[in-house]
Amino acid sequence: MPQFMKSIRFRLLSVTLLAVMGPLAVFSRLLNDQLWGFYVSRLDLELEAMGYVISEDSVPILLGEEPREELAAVVERWDRLMGVRIIVADADGTIQAGTIGFASLKVGTEIDDTFTPGLRAALRGSRNSTTWRGPDQDYEETMYVNVPILSEDGEVLGAVRVSYSLGQVKSGITNIRHNLWLGFGVYVVLLTLIIVLLATSLARPVESLRKDAQIISGGVLDHRIEPYGPSEIKELGDTLNQMTERLAGLEGQRRRYVSDVSHELRSPLAAIRSMTETLIEHGDDDPELKHRYLPRIVSQTDRLARLATQLLDLAQIEGDDTTQQFEKVCLRGVVDEVLQTTERAAGEAGVTVTTELESSSLAVPGSRDQIVQMLLNLVENAIRYTPEGSLVAVAGSREKDRVVLSVRDNGPGIEEKSLPFLFERFYRVDQARTPNRGGTGLGLSIVQRIVQAHGGSITVESELGEGTLFRIELPGCVEKE
């Protein structure tokens, strides 16, 4: 389909014109048939009426009560008045008078079936009418009405034939049709104008929206659309604006994220580089330096590696729609796995981790790997940020159709002003960074994203000197009693 045929203007115009022209053509055809039928039946009646009047006038003449010459006068009078052609024949079939078109028909000649169709039937007493085109195409179609001339006692004295050219009826109808089509033509031209205006008023705001969208897709995310036109198009423009705002927001977030990631990568790299350079420069004169810096370099490298892994985890959690691959995750198994993984770190930090599950059948629909990671991050955090001798308690219980998982520690607690930012990427409570603890600032972000991906919620309560409680609510699996 050519491009212009897909435009609003073309489609509206073509559909409307088809919708108007089709019925108009049918209507015009019907009108033509109706008018033709109506005029022909009217003509038949009129010619018959004339035939009977002439027949009555002819009775005394044919009976010989009045002179034969009178007959010609009667015929001439009607011819003059009505423009009809008339033949009057006597009972023997001899033409007595007439306004005759055909050369073969003359007063005093015998009628015949070719040139006077139906007249012989009228002489037998039956009124009839017929249409005839004449002996060749030079003649117009003509209607013939034949009426018998009857005496008072019913004797057939002769017959009258009255004829009228149907060509005149046809030209009358054609005239009406021409006028009708002229009216239609004016109507269609006006309609076309209205539709073109309407289509333009529809197409212009759409075209303007398209231009705006093109600017936006070119990357100008602060471009704002001022939509006009029909309400639907205005709404579309408003929606586009909302979309662009959201995109701009996301783009801003992305930039901040990339900048944050760059920052987070550069800090450990700076420490590694500085320590290595210092070792190269002063390592020989100061043997103590080696023991101090080399373990730090190793732990900074670990931190970089963990950061890389967690960035990837975060990207995967945010990028995937994992709800499709949810399975029944049994919390008993998850807790055991997390405990095993953190056993060594807890031992080294001197932290005791306890677990208490209300029921060993506690389960949630989800991704097992993600649920393990979620709990692991919380437990690792608790171990990392609590002093030696602290307790970390992992608990699971069921509340109606939800499963509640909590991780509580009796560590130093978190300041209230930090709580709102706790789940933000790269936010760390100990702002004077202590990299030996190895936090990347991504652990809690990952936890929050996993909880969200599982349709749950996470809250944190903390009191300085008392400890911290992370509480996760997840939709639970239906438990079989």
Binding site: S259, S262, H263, E264, R266, S267, L269, A270, A271, I272, R273, S274, M275, E277, T278, E281, H282, L289, Y293, R296, Q300, Q431, A432, R433, T434, P435, N436
Partner: protein
């Protein structure tokens, strides 16, 4: 002996920088917090300030702001350290009257030491 204040919140980085400066014979004050830096600067002006931008409690920019309002700090050369490599940050740093150098992490310690030596030589001449 020239006095240098090192404001860097990464403790390991702070320590290693201070170690190098001390080895080169400077007197060093290590600080890990923006607020503490401002308090120290209000009392005493060092000969040189090495300043990180991302700091807890008060950012490096706020410390710069504070310095530009203090008459006794008007001659203090400030070298900016940052983990951000954006053009805007560099332009912002350069607009600061006391701006005397800009290092993006991870920087070469040798470059920093040479730059510090040059700055302190110059200020010793004036």
């Amino acid at each position: 002996m020239a006095k240098i204040m090192v404001v860097e919140d990464d403790e390991q980085l702070n320590e290693v920088l201070c170690y190098n400066l001390q080895k080169a014979g400077y007197q060093v004050t290590p600080i890990v917090d923006g607020e503490v830096a401002v308090k120290e600067l209000a009392q005493d002006a060092p000969d040189l300030l090495l300043l990180d931008i991302m700091l807890p409690s008060r950012s490096g920019w706020e410390v710069c702001e504070f310095i530009s309002q203090q008459t006794h700090l008007s001659d203090l050369p400030v070298v900016i350290f940052t983990a951000k490599s954006s053009r805007e940050d560099f332009d912002r740093a350069r607009a600061f009257p006391n701006f005397s150098g800009y290092f993006v992490k991870p920087y070469a310690t040798g470059d920093v030491m040479r730059h510090v030596a040059k700055l302190l030589e110059r200020s010793a001449e004036t």
